[in-house]
């Protein structure tokens, strides 16, 4: 097992030996005292196949059948389930709500997160305490956060009390009970909970910007706004990509907060794809419609991910 070059070469330097041409060193499967056999991947691969791959493939196939989850016999029904999705009022509302919710959360959460990051990335004395406070909601159980906010937003809750206290009583109303405001109220709750997550990622991006670059901009006479737009923002591109991706995927899968705050109501005003799948499958027993809806959701997520990938690729060139 002893390797000639491991003992003769000082640590940190890899010298190809005479018997070993330069390219071969990299091709060799294992070059050291610890081997990396192929069967190391077996446990991970097995559980991944069993929990993710096989059921996902089955889900996609079953979306073209009338499989109801119980009977072993089923037959192909072509695109009937998809036709049902695009004529079902609740399913269509769920699709529209999900896209709107994901879009709102993505935009607002990124703006708030970036502002917070810029704020705590300064010399303010309380910056460490502020980070801990802004991040705290991120670790809170989303379901619990949803319940707390549904109380704050109730007709006699703290939000309406505050509005009345500052003379804006005319604006006070039942935020979650009104179909026109319920979805926005949920979006606000999600932003409150996860703005700290975006902040932390932007903060890591800001701290990676070399001091000299900012100094150079200052010496060149750039003001704070100009520096931000032309120097800081382009260098934050990586953080923006990660944050937008996280917000989009999180927003499109939204379930917990909706169940806690409105249960999808009033009517279908806050129904999302996830709550619609859950209700269709487990309270109405309509598996075919739910599966087709899940496939539509997968296509939406994959499309948006691909669009975002293309956009950011163009931006960085």
């Amino acid at each position: 097992m002893a390797l000639p070059h491991a003992t003769t070469t000082p640590p940190g330097v890899r010298e190809p030996t005479a018997q070993e041409p330069p390219g071969a060193a990299r091709k060799t499967r294992h070059t050291g005292g610890v081997r990396a056999p192929w069967w190391f991947v077996v446990p991970a691969l097995a559980v991944y196949l069993f929990i993710v791959v096989v059921p996902s493939v089955n889900g996609a196939l079953f979306s073209f059948t009338d499989w109801n989850g119980l009977r072993p016999d089923w037959s192909f029904v072509g695109l009937d389930n998809y036709a049902a999705v695009f004529t079902d009022r609740t399913a269509l509302d769920a699709l529209a709500n999900t896209l709107l919710l994901a879009a709102m959360v993505t935009v607002v959460q990124n703006v708030v997160g970036l502002l917070l990051a810029l704020g705590v990335n300064t010399l303010v004395k309380s910056r460490y305490a502020l980070r801990v406070i802004f991040f705290a909601p991120v670790v809170l159980t989303p379901l619990v956060a949803g319940y707390v906010w549904s109380f704050l937003l109730s007709p006699n809750g703290a939000v309406n009390d505050a509005l009345r206290a500052v003379g804006l009583g005319a604006l006070a109303h039942d935020w979650l009970g009104d179909p026109d405001t319920a979805l926005y109220a949920i979006a606000a709750e999600i932003v409150w909970q996860f703005a700290g997550y975006s902040m932390v990622i932007y903060l890591a991006g800001l701290q990676a910007i070399p001091r000299e670059v900012l100094e150079a901009a200052r010496i060149d006479g750039a003001g704070p706004w100009h520096t931000f737009r032309s120097v800081v923002l382009p260098l934050l591109n990586g953080a923006v990509v990660i944050n937008v991706m996280l917000c989009l995927i999180g927003g499109l899968k939204q379930f917990d907060q909706v169940m806690a705050m409105t249960g999808g109501g009033p009517g279908t005003a806050t129904e999302t794809i996830s709550t619609a799948i859950y209700k269709n499958a487990f309270t109405l027993g309509d598996f075919p419609l739910s599966i087709a809806l899940a496939v539509v959701m997968t296509v939406v997520i994959a499309t948006l991910a691909a669009i975002q990938y293309r956009l950011t690729l163009r931006k960085s060139h």
Partner: protein
């Protein structure tokens, strides 16, 4: 950028503190309401004197939160341990072996990041039901492990690719099998990324609501979020009682957060740079 603490810094500081107080209102309201007498209808920010702990005792017994917290703890610990074991082990050949099978396996595993869990949901539910695993904590654990595999393998592989080979090469482990030498030499080198994987998965799994709702809902063998969900629908609008239950269910994670905040924030930030 700002070398000294100026008036502008002070204005900024005051603004940020005000925003932070606004951020804290829901948390303060949560705690405050839970300390009020059950009949109280006063505002979330009107403080109650004297505070009472009656709600806590009532919520604890009525929502059987003790058993639910124990289940949450069991599921989180076991899921995270299995995720670490499987993903660290798998990442090693994926990062070190440059042959085609290794590259294709990596892409195949990472592809799981783009598949929403809803697609697999119903076939997986049917499989678990037919296997008689509804109501079993093991169903939730296996599902957690499978679903978290792509992201965890990704983090470990990326970290390993940056890690110099020197230590592994210098290690002369005569008579040690590959598994033992991996555990003794490689795994300790992965400590930073293991911290990130533990934090991200533990927080996510502790807070997870959908999977335990499906597999444990109504079984009397639930996790904290599912117990809370049932509790809230049972005691609609008895807010002081409900809020005491909410506080109990989030207390463990908030305590861990405050004790380890520096590591936790770093874990969340570091996990997503790759």
């Amino acid at each position: 950028m700002h070398a000294r603490y100026t008036w502008r810094t002070l204005t900024r500081e005051i603004t940020l503190i005000l925003v932070a107080l606004g951020f804290l209102i829901p948390l303060v309201g949560l705690l405050n309401i839970s300390l009020k007498p059950q009949s109280s209808q006063s505002s979330a920010l009107a403080f109650a004197f004297p505070p009472t702990l009656d709600n806590y005792a009532a919520a604890w017994s009525q929502a059987s939160l003790g058993a639910a917290l124990a289940n949450s703890f069991f599921i989180t610990t076991l899921s995270v341990a299995l995720i670490i074991a499987c993903s660290a082990l798998a990442a090693y050949p994926l990062a070190r072996v440059t042959r085609a099978w290794s590259r294709y396996t990596f892409v195949f595993l990472i592809g799981g990041l783009l598949i929403p869990g809803q697609l697999a949901l119903l076939p997986l539910y049917a499989t678990m039901r037919d296997a008689g695993l509804l109501g079993s904590l093991w169903a939730v654990i296996v599902i957690n492990v499978g679903q978290q595999m792509p992201f965890s393998v990704f983090l470990y592989t990326m970290f390993l690719r940056e890690l110099p080979l020197d230590y592994e090469e210098a290690a002369l482990l005569d008579g040690c099998g590959p598994l033992r030498s991996f555990a003794l030499v490689v795994f300790p080198l992965l400590r930073p990324v293991t911290g990130t994987v533990v934090i991200l998965n533990a927080v996510g799994i502790w807070n997870e609501f959908f999977t335990p709702l499906l597999y444990l809902g109504g079984s009397g063998n639930t996790t904290a979020p599912v117990a809370i969900y049932g509790f809230v629908s049972q005691y609609v609008s008895q807010w002081p009682l409900i809020f005491a239950g909410l506080v109990i269910s989030v207390l463990p994670i908030l305590v861990v957060y405050l004790a380890l905040q520096k590591h936790i924030i770093k874990g969340f930030a570091g996990g997503l740079k790759g």
